[in-house]
Amino acid sequence: MLLLALDTSTPAVTVALHDGDRVVAESTTIAPRQHTERLMPQVTDALAAVGADRTAITEIAVGVGPGPFTGLRVGIAAGRTLGAALDLPVRGVCSLDVIAYAVVSGPAAPGPFLVATDARRREVYWAAYDESGRRTAGPAVDRAAAVRAQRGALPAAGAGAGLYADEFGTVLAPEHPSAAALARAVVDEAVEISAPDPLYLRRPDATPPAGRKSVLA
C-alpha cells in the first residue's frame, strides 16, 4: 500500500507517504498563505523521493481542520480531486487529532491535555484529549481565556498554546500537525476517520445589507 497524507490547516504545508510499515517520505514547509503554491510540488517531490509514480498511491488522507479557511480548502480540494481522478478513497481526519496523536506518541505522555491552534481574531481552535489521545471535547473555537475557564490550565500542544501561553499549562510540542503523524495515525487506526469535509466551525463573515443610507446631506 501507499498512503498519501496531506494537511494545510495551519501555516505548515505538509505531505507524507506511508507504505503500511512506515513513513517513507515526508515534506513540510512553513509557508503562510502559500498553500496553493507549495502543496502539489511537495506531493510530486515526495513521490519522486521514493521512486513512485502517482498511480502507486492506494489511498489518501487529508486533514480537515479546523483551520483558517483559505489554506484549509487547498488541501481538501487537492485531496478530493486526487481521489476522484485516481479513483481512490479519501479519508478526513481532524487536524487537532493529528497533533494529539503526535503528543501521545512522544516520549513523555502528559496525562489529559489540550490541543489549541491559531484561529486568528484572538481565538483558538481547540479540543481536549485524555492521556491516551482520545478526544473528549471539541473541536471548538473560543478565546483561550474561555477555554481555560472551562477546562482549567491543562498542558497544551499547538501554535495556539504558545500564542496564549498564560492561559494554558505547560506548552507541548508539536506546534503544527505533520502529515507523517497523520499517516501513522491513519495506518495505526488511532484516529476517528470522517468524510474529507472541512471543519469550519464558524459561519462565513457576512451580514445582509442594512437599510439605505441617505445620500442627501
Binding site: L39, A77, A206
Partner: protein
C-alpha cells in the same frame, strides 16, 4: 488530426465552471452557481463563494465529462483561471487543477480570466481574426481590452475606476426596491419605462475625463445620482416611477459602455468587437452595441449567454489556444493572482523562452 482535449476550470467569482474543448469546438460546459446563496447579502460574499466552489468542483467536473461523453483519461491538458478574481475562490480551482494535472500526468496551464472571456467567442463563431477589441461587462469586472493574439498578446485599454457595471445594476436595483441580481430585474422594469424620461449622468465622459480616462468607466456617480433622484422624489411625497428610473439608468450604462468601446475600435483601427461578460445578457446593451457597431462598420461578435457568463469552457478555449501555439505549461508552483494583469495571458509564459 483531432486537436487535444482540454479541460478548463473556472472559480474566480461565484460560478464553479468546468468545460471541455477541442480546438475551437465546445464539448461540454458544466456550471454550478452559488448565486442563490448570495441573494440575501445583496452581492457576492467571497467566503460563501469559496465554500460553494469546494463542494461543487468535483461534481461539476464529473458532469462535464458526462456531457462530453469523455473519461478523465482522455484529457490531454488542464487549464485553470489563475486570476484575476477573488483570492480564496481562485485557490480552490487552482488547487483542484494542480491535483488533477498531477493525477493525470498532464500539463497544466494557468490562464487569464479576462482573456478567457474573449476566447469563449471562438467556441461560438470559430477562430477570431485578431486584432479585436473586447468589451467585458460583468458583476465583477468592466473592461475594454485589445487582443492582438489570443494566446500571447492582450492589452488593457480601460476599466472601471470604481464599481463594476454589474455591481451598479445590483446597487440601483436595491435603491428602487428590486431584487438581486439587479441585471435581469432592472431590464424587466426598464421594458415598461421611458429611457429618456430621466437623464442620468454618463461617468468619465466630460472633455477633461476623456483625456485622462479615455476608455475608463465610473459608475459610482451614476449610482449616487439615482439615489439622489429617488430620495428627492420620496421627500416630496411623490411616487417613484420605478420603470422610468430603471430605463434611464440602464440607458446611461449602455450608452457609456458602447460609446467608449466603439471609440476604442475606431481609434485603434480595429474592425472587430467582442462583447462578453454576464451583463452582455442585457438586451438594451446588446441592441445599442449592435446599432453602433453597424453604424461604425465594426463586426460585432458575441457568444451565447452561457458562454458570456463565467464558465469553464472559456478557460478550456484559451487553454486550447495556448496549447496549439506550443507554449510551455505553467510551473506546478504558480500562484493565484487576484489582480493578474491582462498582459499575462498565460502564467509563467516566457519563463522558459
Amino acid at each position: 488530426m483531432t486537436p487535444p482535449l482540454i479541460l478548463g476550470i473556472e472559480t474566480s467569482c461565484d460560478e464553479t465552471g468546468v468545460g471541455l474543448v477541442r480546438g475551437t469546438t465546445l464539448l461540454a460546459n458544466a456550471v454550478a452557481s452559488s448565486v442563490d446563496e448570495h441573494v440575501r447579502f445583496g452581492g457576492v460574499v467571497p467566503e460563501v463563494a469559496s465554500r460553494a466552489h469546494l463542494e461543487a468542483i468535483v461534481p461539476t467536473m464529473h458532469r462535464a465529462l458526462d456531457e462530453a461523453g469523455c473519461r478523465l483519461a482522455d484529457v490531454d491538458a488542464v487549464a485553470v483561471t489563475a486570476g484575476p478574481g477573488l483570492a480564496g475562490a481562485l485557490m480552490v480551482g487552482v488547487s483542484a487543477a494542480k491535483a488533477l494535472a498531477v493525477a493525470l500526468d498532464r500539463p497544466l496551464y494557468g490562464v487569464n480570466h479576462l482573456v478567457g472571456h474573449v476566447a469563449a467567442e471562438q467556441l461560438e463563431n470559430g477562430p477570431l481574426t485578431e486584432p479585436v477589441v473586447a468589451l467585458l461587462v460583468s458583476g465583477g469586472h468592466t473592461e475594454i481590452l485589445q487582443v492582438d493574439d489570443i494566446a500571447t498578446a492582450a492589452e488593457l485599454l480601460g476599466q472601471t475606476i470604481d464599481d463594476a457595471a454589474g455591481e451598479a445594476f445590483d446597487k440601483v436595483a436595491r435603491l428602487i426596491g428590486l431584487k438581486y441580481p439587479g441585471g435581469p430585474h432592472i431590464q424587466r422594469a426598464a421594458a415598461e419605462g421611458d429611457p429618456a424620461a430621466i437623464r442620468f449622468p454618463r461617468g468619465l465622459t466630460a472633455p477633461r475625463d476623456m483625456t485622462r480616462h479615455r476608455y475608463d468607466f465610473s459608475f459610482s456617480g451614476l449610482k449616487t445620482a439615482v439615489a439622489r433622484w429617488v430620495e428627492t422624489a420620496e421627500a416630496a411625497g411623490k411616487p417613484v416611477p420605478v420603470a422610468d428610473v430603471a430605463a434611464g439608468f440602464q440607458e446611461a450604462v449602455a450608452d457609456v459602455l458602447t460609446k467608449k468601446a466603439v471609440l476604442a475600435c475606431q481609434e485603434r483601427g480595429v474592425s472587430t468587437m467582442v462583447l462578453a461578460g454576464g451583463v452582455a445578457a442585457n438586451a438594451r446593451l446588446r441592441e445599442l452595441t449592435e446599432q453602433r457597431c453597424a453604424a461604425a462598420g465594426i463586426t460585432l461578435r458575441q457568444p451565447r449567454f452561457s458562454l458570456c457568463t463565467d464558465n469553464g469552457a472559456m478557460i478550456a478555449a484559451l487553454g486550447a489556444a495556448v496549447v496549439e501555439r506550443g507554449l510551455p505549461p505553467s510551473p506546478l508552483d504558480f500562484a493565484t493572482d487576484s489582480s493578474l494583469p491582462v498582459t499575462e495571458v498565460l502564467v509563467g509564459a516566457g519563463q522558459f523562452s
